[in-house]
């Protein structure tokens, strides 16, 4: 028994979890958990403030990684074998349809959750100083998520995939000067063919996931370094008069400086340098509001993980991932539609390819990236930022309306057809 205890102790190397020291050591002696602080503020854990959307997005990505690696075992990235492998996954491979469905729904869910997470961060003004750069990283993660979805969309090599990618990459070729070359490099040719499938596969399973993982690490690290999870600071009770501290060696006659005491922890630099920490500084007394990460934060994260995984599994039991006929370059389905999250773009492109396909999305991305530097209003209280909230809401609504029109209101020949009108295919 002593040996077992010794082995266990050599692995965990912490005091029992019944002690405060043990709870802290669980976090900071563990390489996987030490991204958390040992203690978190109670407001950080409120579901109704963050809806745990960042966690859910991350868990969806974990589902995508695991199911994606599993699917790779039965997939050959060249036509027409790619399509045969899809058929095998649907009809022969044990649990194949379930894995494919999980991968597909988790991917759609990730696009949705990344977007909702961005909305939450905007509406709570969590991109403001000192978190400006982390918003930029977040926008890049949104773009990578869309890129992963788009490259994955081609891999089944069915009609849906083939024409969505044909339309999607042709939109890119409208970019001035470099558009044509970028498309040629992306496709490895002039049309969507074997070379394109192989390149999209490499992007989908190697390049884009690596980039996404690297940026996610930066994103999480910066949350910690920027002052922890976001919380409604404007709701905290006001502080008592500021305590002052004197900086300077005791031997010196004159103190160097007298500054307000910070409530934040500086994790190691406090003995070395003077000056305010770069962390978010809160004008409130909140020491007693902190709780240990174990079990309070970890328990909630585990619940979010289980709800995400069981949710995706439940959806995948009842709804299968679609698979159309083998890709046929000679026959364009009518209407040919891009993936749903690009249908707003396709709707714009149906009016003007250059304005809708290049100028509008480029401006949208630039505007998103510029938000934290352009919005100089220091307040995070919603009543102080009516203009920002209105503008962002218009941006969200316009995007949603365009996607809904493109998805449900466009029929053969991209004619305006309400979803309750039934169009007989081929009748023109």
């Amino acid at each position: 028994m002593n040996l077992i205890r010794e082995i266990w102790q050599s692995i965990v190397r912490r005091d029992p979890l019944s002690t405060d020291k043990g709870k802290s050591e669980l976090v900071f002696l563990n390489v996987w958990l030490h991204i958390h602080p040992a203690k978190v503020k109670k407001e950080n854990l409120r579901f109704k403030y963050t809806f745990y959307l960042g966690f859910i997005t991350f868990f969806l990505f974990v589902i995508l990684l695991t199911t994606g690696i599993a699917l790779m075992c039965y997939y050959r990235p060249f036509p027409p074998q790619a399509y045969q492998d899809m058929k095998d996954l649907e009809f022969v491979v044990y649990m194949g349809p379930f894995l494919r469905a999980m991968h597909r729904w988790a991917a759609h869910g990730m696009v949705v959750c990344v977007f909702l997470h961005m909305c939450r961060v905007f509406y709570t003004a969590s991109y403001k100083k000192p978190r400006q750069f982390n918003w930029v990283v977040g926008v890049l993660l949104l773009l990578l998520t869309l890129g992963l979805s788009f490259t994955g969309y081609l891999l089944p090599w069915d009609q849906l995939a083939y024409w969505a990618i044909t339309v999607g990459t042709n939109i890119g070729s409208y970019a001035p000067i470099i558009g044509g070359q970028v498309r040629e490099i992306l496709l490895g040719g002039h049309t969507v063919g074997e070379a394109a499938l192989l390149r999209f596969y490499v992007l989908h399973v190697a390049i884009l996931p690596s980039a996404l993982i690297l940026l996610t690490i930066v994103h999480f690290w910066r949350i910690r370094k920027d002052g922890g999870l976001s919380r409604p600071t404007w709701k905290l009770k006001p502080n008592q008069p500021e305590a002052l501290v004197t900086i300077g060696a005791p031997a010196q006659v004159e103190p160097l400086r007298t500054v307000a005491a910070s409530k934040d922890k500086t994790y190691g630099l406090m003995e070395v340098v003077t000056g305010k920490p770069i962390f978010e500084t809160i004008e409130a007394d909140e020491e007693e509001d902190a709780v240990f990460s174990y079990p309070y934060a970890f328990f909630r994260e585990a619940i979010a993980l289980m709800v995400t995984v069981t949710g995706i599994m439940a959806i995948s039991l009842f709804f299968h991932a679609p698979l159309e006929q083998l890709a046929n370059p000679a026959k364009t389905p009518n209407p040919a539609k891009a993936p749903w999250y690009f249908l707003g773009l396709q709707e714009l492109v149906s009016h003007s390819a250059l304005l809708g396909g290049v100028v509008a999305p480029a401006l949208m991305v630039l505007a998103l990236l510029a938000i934290p530097y352009f919005d100089r209003n220091p307040s995070r209280r919603p009543t102080d930022r009516k203009w920002a909230i209105w503008l962002f809401t218009i941006f969200v609504v316009v995007n949603l309306v365009l996607i809904v029109i493109g998805t449900f209101f466009r029929g053969p020949g991209w004619a305006f057809v309400p979803p309750w009108v039934h169009v007989v295919a081929g009748a023109e």
Binding site: W163, T166, V167, N170, I171, Q181, E184, I185, G188, G189, H190, T191, G193, E194, A195, P329, A330, K331, T332, P333, N334, P335, A336, Q346, V349, S350, H351, S352, A353, L354, P412, G413, W414, A415, E428
Partner: protein, 151 residues
């Protein structure tokens, strides 16, 4: 080594480093541009003139072209690739126009844009008769819509 020599060598080294990085990046981009395209040739034979009927055009799905044959005017070849986003257009005999299924572009009998977002008219390709009597289409040679081959 004096200060002047140190700065000179330092600047030269910095320029050399930057050039090396730039050349390497250019090489990476060049690597991604295929040197050989394993794609169908742009110039190809489509068969004997007698294979093509008069009246409605013949659609060749693999080449994505329409072959028109008129009793008086002769042969002409139109591209079936929409100039908007590359979908394959369909020819309707009823109104003698080309319709794109993706974004609703409509092209007139000679390929000009009549409706929808397409930025340019459909291409017409050169068609000639090869020595063995077969028709030869060259998609690299775009010709005006009035171009005809009499056989």
């Amino acid at each position: 080594m004096n200060r002047r020599a140190f700065l000179g060598w330092g600047a030269a080294g910095f320029v050399a480093l930057c050039s090396g990085v730039a050349v390497s990046l250019a090489a990476v981009v060049r690597y991604l541009v295929p040197s050989v395209f394993y794609e169908p040739p742009q110039s190809f034979k489509i068969g004997d003139p007698a294979d093509f009927p008069f009246g409605p055009p013949t659609f060749l799905p693999d080449e994505k072209i329409f072959v028109f044959r008129d009793r008086e005017k002769g042969f002409a070849v139109a591209s079936a690739v929409c100039t908007h986003l590359g979908c394959t257009v369909a020819y309707f005999q009823s109104d003698q126009r080309f319709h794109c299924p993706c974004h609703g572009s409509v092209f007139g009998p000679n390929g000009t844009v009549q409706h929808g977002p397409a930025p340019r008219a459909l291409n017409w390709f050169e068609i000639t008769q090869a020595r063995d009597g077969q028709l030869l289409v060259d998609k690299d040679k775009v010709v005006p819509p009035s171009y005809r081959l009499m056989v």
